[in-house]
Symmetry: C2
Subunit: 212 residues, 2 copies
């Protein structure tokens, strides 16, 4: 990244502006329709500023993937509450957005759509594939101790923690596909189904859960 | 579509050649990297032949989506065997490819990757969104009677057939995301997890299943 910035702006601010512009352009035009011009149109920056910071569109998009993955994974830094049921639902809230019946931030679908758009680039792009494999494995490393803790406490059934963690991630990804690529909103029915799966297949008791 | 074809070929053959070329070009370059030139490079046809048949790239890709969805949904025409467990697993075999431990057709991952690549276009493209909503609802219409049949026979637990069908589709989509966008092969662990879910949450008995 160059430290030459337009209008004397802080380089960090310029980078942030480029990332925000990329987010907006991706939402409007999709990955296949992205261009540096279209990203620049979403910012107050000139195309030449972009070339001070990045070699080209591909480099911007890789940097944008890091920017988004950072946002998706910050929640992993939250420590355990000691209640594995609560920790499990907190993880699902963070990856899927808040339960729709509890109210929802207005941009949840946009955020999930951006995630799926970037993730589908991993089909062809080995650098994206590496990034998302690392992200998913980070999720597994977060979930396995939660599941193991629940098993040890007798709150969860004696499931295989890693297999169950990977299955939960697949379910999360599948719900994201359904939520972002259909004409209707499948979140209520799929969230109910996910809760039913967790209640029937993972949780055996709620000795420590405070529901009220 | 025009009936003017190159080399006097049958228009159906020309359409098929364009679809096959599109499939190859999509595998090589991804959706964002597609162009009519790149599709033409995968065929013996000239670019002008493409413009006889289609108005442009977007129209080719919509037609290609129909072509792929037709291949994905032909299995829905298979009638019930009367054994809901077998019917359920046949459906999953068709949507996910054969169980990896039973041997696998070499192009399963490519086929699933093509599906995900097209499906992710539905994030931005209302025509793709309509197509995939219709496809998914067709899957639900296929699964619900299988689940209801199993419940009526006492083979399946008393699940909500539509919610369970939609959850199964989300799981299938999530497994497709994991299988096509990571650096390793998650199929064995995810298929085992899917079987465990079906055995624990859906199937209550196997009175009619012939496992041998």
């Amino acid at each position: 990244m160059s430290d030459t910035t337009e209008l004397g702006a802080d380089p960090t601010d310029t980078h942030e502006a480029i990332m925000c512009g990329t987010y907006q352009a991706l939402r409007e035009h999709g990955y296949a329709g992205l261009s540096i011009q279209r990203i620049a149109d979403e910012t107050d920056l000139s195309k030449s500023t972009f070339y001070h910071h990045f070699d080209g569109k591909d480099e911007i998009l890789l940097s944008f993937a890091d920017y988004i993955l950072e946002q998706f994974t910050w929640g992993l830094r939250i420590g355990s509450t000691g209640d594995p049921v609560r920790d499990l639902y907190t993880f699902l809230d963070l990856t899927l957005g808040i339960h729709p019946s509890d109210g929802d931030s207005p941009n949840t679908e946009e955020r999930l759509a951006t995630y799926l758009e970037l993730r589908s680039q991993a089909i062809h792009d080995p650098e994206f594939r590496d990034k998302f494999t690392e992200m998913s494995d980070g999720y597994v490393d977060h979930l396995v101790p939660i599941l193991q803790d629940g098993i040890d406490q007798g709150v969860f059934a004696d499931v295989d923690p890693e297999q169950t963690a990977r299955f939960l991630l697949a379910i999360v990804d599948g719900i994201i596909v359904e939520v972002t690529t259909r004409t209707d909103d499948q979140r209520p029915v799929l969230w109910n189904a996910l809760e039913a799966y967790i209640e029937e297949s993972i949780i055996t008791a709620h000795p420590q859960r405070a529901d009220s």
